[in-house]
Symmetry: C2
Subunit: 155 residues, 2 copies
DNA sequence: CGCCAATTGTCTACTAGGAAACAAAATGAT
DNA sequence: ATCATTTTGTTTCCTAGTAGACAATTGGCG
């Protein structure tokens, strides 16, 4: 009943939220092991990927989709803007909002970092078979109500 | 090609790490909707649950299992200790380490908060069937190399 | 024994991210 | 038109979590 080096997870092992928490932390460890000293963490990477896939996306739409709070999104976008990675524009039909698009420098940066990360992100983790990995991703997309990607997606 | 209110997720929809990140944030939203203004966030809850399931667990073992950095664990345990929720003791065979056990007050606190959260954590999320939920949890445990819980686990 | 390497918890800074209040612009009701 | 409500981005302050250096302890090895 005492505590060995491999503790008992108890209720945590049945709890979806905590399993997701631990799995995400493990995935990030692998992410950072791929990127030596990362220019961009997972949060910033997801923003770059999202703007790349959705040019002229509005800042608020981006924040909701990635579940990043607006306050935080403001800081990241402003730093991207200062670094010349995104170009912002105010649409004529709603002058409160900001439309975001990657600059050529932003696309370069994204491509370079993604090259170092994509194998870990798209590939199969050691603990799961390819089939299990596909099932896991499919269930996560369904949980999130995210559409499955098109078949011929770029690497 | 412009950006609608439901953006295209592109490479994110195939990337295990980012799917896990988004899923965890969604799960936390549901967690916080269950606990009005939470006495303990998910991180602290997982620590209480873990100490409850593993009395006399060493602080470092706990940190590794929950993937919380030692520096952070120190702060949380010290605050738990000040609040009278855990009892710490130095084992005779290794005077560097700390053994952690829940006090009666700690067990009470855990039971009270868990009551408000367990339905969301153990139940089936709206987007998935019961069977899909079970599969998802099983695959996450396998990804994490966590043993499946015993059958007759407490609610 | 004495010395060197690894481990454990802790401390001090720092970064990522959130909560709440706010101004400007849009929307809707009258 | 006018006023209240909502939305969007921003600002300030705060919390959760990390990075790196550190002292104390342990274990190995001559």
């Amino acid at each position: 009943m005492a505590a060995p080096d491999q503790p008992i997870f108890g209720a945590l092992a049945e709890s979806l939220g905590f399993l997701l928490r631990l799995a995400q932390l493990q995935a990030f460890d692998e992410y950072f092991s791929a990127e030596g000293s990362p220019e961009h963490g997972p949060g910033e990477m997801s923003i770059l990927l999202m703007i790349d896939a959705n040019p002229m996306i509005r800042q608020g739409v981006l924040a909701r989709a990635l579940r990043i709070k607006r306050a935080h999104m403001t800081k990241i976008i402003q730093s991207f803007d200062r670094a010349g990675l995104v170009q912002t524009s105010v649409p004529a039909d709603d002058r409160r909002s900001l439309e975001l698009t990657l600059t050529p420098a932003g696309k370069d940066r994204l491509a370079r970092v993604w090259d170092r990360v994509s194998l870990n992100e798209l590939g199969r983790p050691g603990n799961l078979t390819q089939r299990e990995t596909d099932t896991l991703k499919r269930l996560l997309r369904k949980y999130l109500s995210i559409a499955a990607p098109a078949e011929g997606a770029d690497a």
